[in-house]
């Protein structure tokens, strides 16, 4: 049985709590948040507290707070020599106070409050300074059913950066597609099977192999027509920048 104390109550903390709580091999013994109201609804399931000095003893302390607050809260912990991990994609493992054993437990996924997520499908990026601690984090990941990867800080920061492209920027492309089709009173649902297939295709081929469309075909006639159709200057610019990028990738 691995005992856990959770610190913070944002989206990641809540999804992580659900996953940890379900496992028979994990005991979440306490949940800390500065603003206790945010975790009050859990008080029948678990010990809750807003006083950092009243933290109990546990195998792993998981810090799920905003990036800016991680270092600060790690300094305030009223104990030493225990395993303390953060869950951030961009914060260095050394930003945790060195009075404790340090690690990272980073779930690479996008979380919304309103959307249920199957935690088992989330890859966990693990880092620890001690071999034994990495082993403990691996077994924690295994107990909640996740695949885990040993990822150092530089790699994790790179993953976080890549995630901005494959998640945030991709989502903005969806947004632009939505805007363009909305303007002509077209139901955005028509585009959904396409965008889901675009993602699923990568289970069988690389993004390089998967590329289709006017830019990779060097179909200048269609490109010109599209640029003429785009009403917003901003959309035109993005069309040009992305077309150029595809052309460059494919040696056009």
């Amino acid at each position: 049985m691995i005992s856990i104390i959770l610190l913070g109550a944002g989206k990641v903390a809540k999804h992580l709590f659900d996953a940890l709580y379900k496992s028979n091999d994990i005991s979440v013994i306490q949940w800390f948040n500065r603003d206790i109201k945010k975790i009050e609804s859990f008080k029948n399931d678990i010990g809750i507290t807003d006083e950092i000095d009243s933290l109990a003893k546990a195998d792993i302390y998981i810090i799920c707070v905003s990036d800016d607050a991680i270092s600060k809260i790690s300094k305030k912990l009223p104990f030493t020599g225990r395993l303390v991990v953060h869950t951030s994609g961009s914060i260095n493992i050394h930003d945790l106070d060195k009075k404790n054993r340090r690690g990272v437990f980073y779930p690479l996924q996008t979380f919304s409050n309103s959307r249920q997520i199957n935690f088992e499908e989330i890859p966990l990026c693990l880092e620890a300074l001690e071999k034994e601690d990495l082993k403990l984090l691996r077994s924690l990941a295994k107990h909640i059913g996740c695949k885990s990867y040993k990822i150092n800080t530089e790699q994790r920061q790179t993953l976080h950066l890549s995630a901005v492209f494959v998640n945030n920027f991709v989502n903005q492309m969806y947004r632009i597609g939505h805007e363009i089709s909305d303007a002509k009173k077209i139901n955005f649902d028509i585009l959904k099977p396409l965008l889901i297939e675009t993602a699923n295709k990568l289970n069988e081929m690389s993004p390089y192999q998967a590329q289709t469309g006017p830019a990779v075909r060097n179909d200048q006639k269609t490109i010109k027509k599209h640029l003429k159709m785009l009403e917003k200057k901003e959309h035109k610019h993005i069309y040009q920048v992305m077309t150029k990028s595809i052309e460059k990738t494919h040696g056009r």
Copy 2:
């Protein structure tokens, strides 16, 4: 029973043939292609030909050739007054020769030769000049199990343009994410659950609601850090353009 003759042998034609051939209410009676070698392997299933003058009689002629060749092939058809449709996202219905009844049967999806597709999940965008012809196209769509939408030429061209954003440009974002992570010897598989969830999220919310990440949070510290990490000038530029676009969308 609806009788069909297929013209052309590209990716769309092949996927469409599979879907049509499976239906009990559709009879594909002939397949034409200028280069007969490309359809020779089907000669036991169906009449094949490379002579346009030997086309049989059918309810619907489906032209699945490259955009540039659609108008030309429609002119060469050795009959008049029959229903002829093309399958292109960008070609005007009026580009078909008016000696026949005209329509469009546009499957909005991305096709690869190597990947099996569940045709039933593809939205079909239908257009016809005559009401009766639209009805026939609707029942054709229904017989292969597809949802269909009445979409005029301007809307279809807008959908095709939107598709460039939600498919081609999205895929190029995947490509960049792949490049960046590859450079640090990170397995791209780690990013796949994220990008699949990014697409699936849209089943529950709009792209506007789904946005997360540094740009929408106005997290200038992370944006600065990411720009510093990006080694290629082109990637930096795309990061800046997309960040600005997200900021604009969300009124930052």
